[in-house]
């Protein structure tokens, strides 16, 4: 049995030497096995956290209801319970690695698609590709659209455009009517800025 290895020979650990500590017989072998299991659990937990943090928000550590119900309160775990914890964690880590690999592959294929869209937009008419699929943050979407609307559609003038950012929480911005006070104020502010800039120059 090794303390850092992934496999623990339980048969050997159970017949390990014993020692007297404070009047209590303690199975040194089992204690070593528990220590090794805890080390493994720590390593698995850190790797799991790294995957979740790196792949946020695409990979979530959500558990099933059954897994949630299996969680009790804080207690000292037996060797068997530690083994189960380690095995569960190893299983979840494997799932997460698979999801992360899948995600990397998905983003790679999305980037390739974007390159193809840019090279031959006419072949990808109205195809939309969210920037999230490329592993980037934000709400932008790459889309193949006709240049000049209907004219572009008829003439076959296609282009790839990146939409603007996330929609506002309060909905689309209301356009002020010409001559309204808000527009006048904005216009005045712009004029004042331009005048100030001219003075600075």
């Amino acid at each position: 049995m090794t303390q850092s290895g992934l496999v623990i020979d339980r048969d050997r650990s159970e017949i390990g030497e014993t020692a007297v500590t404070g009047g209590h017989w303690v199975e040194v072998g089992e204690r070593d096995a528990r220590y090794a299991l805890k080390t493994q659990i720590g390593r698995l937990e850190r790797e799991l956290s790294a995957i979740v943090a790196d792949a946020f928000p695409h990979i979530s550590p959500e558990l099933t209801d059954a897994q949630r119900e299996a969680i009790g309160g804080p207690c000292l775990l037996t060797l068997e319970e530690l083994e189960r914890t380690r095995d569960r964690l190893a299983g979840r880590l494997q799932d997460m690695r698979r999801l992360a690999a899948h995600r990397v592959e998905y983003e790679r294929s999305s980037r390739e698609l974007l390159e193809r869209m840019k090279l031959e937009p006419g072949r990808y008419k109205f195809v939309r590709l969210p920037v999230r699929d490329l592993g980037q943050g934000g709400c932008g979407v790459w889309e193949v659209r006709p240049r000049l609307g209907l004219i572009g559609m008829l003439a076959g003038w296609w282009q790839v455009k990146l939409s603007s950012g996330c929609p506002l929480l309060e909905g689309p911005r209301v356009r002020a009517a010409p001559g309204s006070s808000s527009l006048t104020q904005r216009h005045r502010a712009t004029l004042e800025r331009n005048v100030a800039r001219r003075h600075l120059v």
Binding site: T21, E45, V52, G73, C75
Partner: protein, 236 residues
């Protein structure tokens, strides 16, 4: 699984006056053997501010919370589980049978609340001070009413049907639950709820603060968390 009577506490730190400042709590033998790096660090303090500790925070404390809210943004909330101290608590949760993705560690719970509410909201002086210490250091601190504590605090396993606290309607604990206890009674579940009737109330003047140090958390962080709480409670 009830442990032996607690031994006298260790004195980990002493102030300049020679009076004990921070104490190490006792640990039951089975806890010490199984979780040798687990420590309970205890500090006694008296409220030096006028008014109740449950009342609203003064502007200085609220300003500090606001400043922390600005520093603690989404990117950090996501990455907090990778920071050394929060990661150490996550690992420890696994070691004691808790899944930190179900029962969140205190700092991750605070991060989630920060994200949900758009900031660290003020919940009263004591709550704010404990939150500031937690966000600053990653170390959770709990507070008990000193008058409701009987003797030194320590960590042990509960026995079957043992009450959580001394009040008449105290909830009963299952066997083997890790608890923070005084000489006679369990006062809090480890990383969990405090015993009813032992929490800090509006009239509390003396507080017993305690923090739980686990493997991978430097003592400096624990001491800093407790000192932050003490300084904020004692002084204006």
């Amino acid at each position: 699984m009830r442990s032996d009577p607690p031994p006298p506490p260790d004195r980990s730190e002493t102030g300049q006056s020679g009076a004990p400042e921070l104490e190490l709590g006792w640990r039951a033998r089975e806890v010490e053997q199984e979780l040798p790096e687990l420590r309970l660090v205890v500090a006694q303090t008296r409220v030096g501010r006028p008014g109740s500790v449950l009342a609203g925070s003064p502007s200085g404390i609220e300003g500090r919370l606001h400043e922390l809210s600005n520093r603690f943004r989404g990117a950090r909330a996501v990455a907090v589980r990778r920071e050394p101290v929060p990661a150490a608590y996550r690992v420890f949760f696994r070691h004691i049978g808790l899944d930190p993705d179900v029962v969140r560690t205190p700092i991750e719970e605070a991060a989630l609340e920060r994200m949900l509410h758009g900031g660290f909201l003020s919940g009263g002086l004591l709550e704010d001070i404990l939150l500031i210490a937690l966000v600053d250091t990653g170390v959770p601190v709990w507070a008990l009413d000193s008058e409701a504590v009987d003797g030194p605090l320590g960590i042990r396993s509960s026995s079957e049907g043992e009450p959580l606290g001394r009040s008449s309607g105290a909830p009963l604990l299952p066997t083997g639950r890790l608890v923070v206890a005084d000489a006679s009674t369990a006062l809090a579940v480890l990383f969990g709820e405090l015993a009813p009737g032992h929490e800090v109330s509006a009239g509390t003047s003396g507080l017993t603060l305690f923090a739980i140090q686990v493997s991978g958390v430097p003592s400096l962080y624990v001491e800093e968390a407790l000192w932050t709480c003490r300084a904020a409670l004692e002084g204006p």
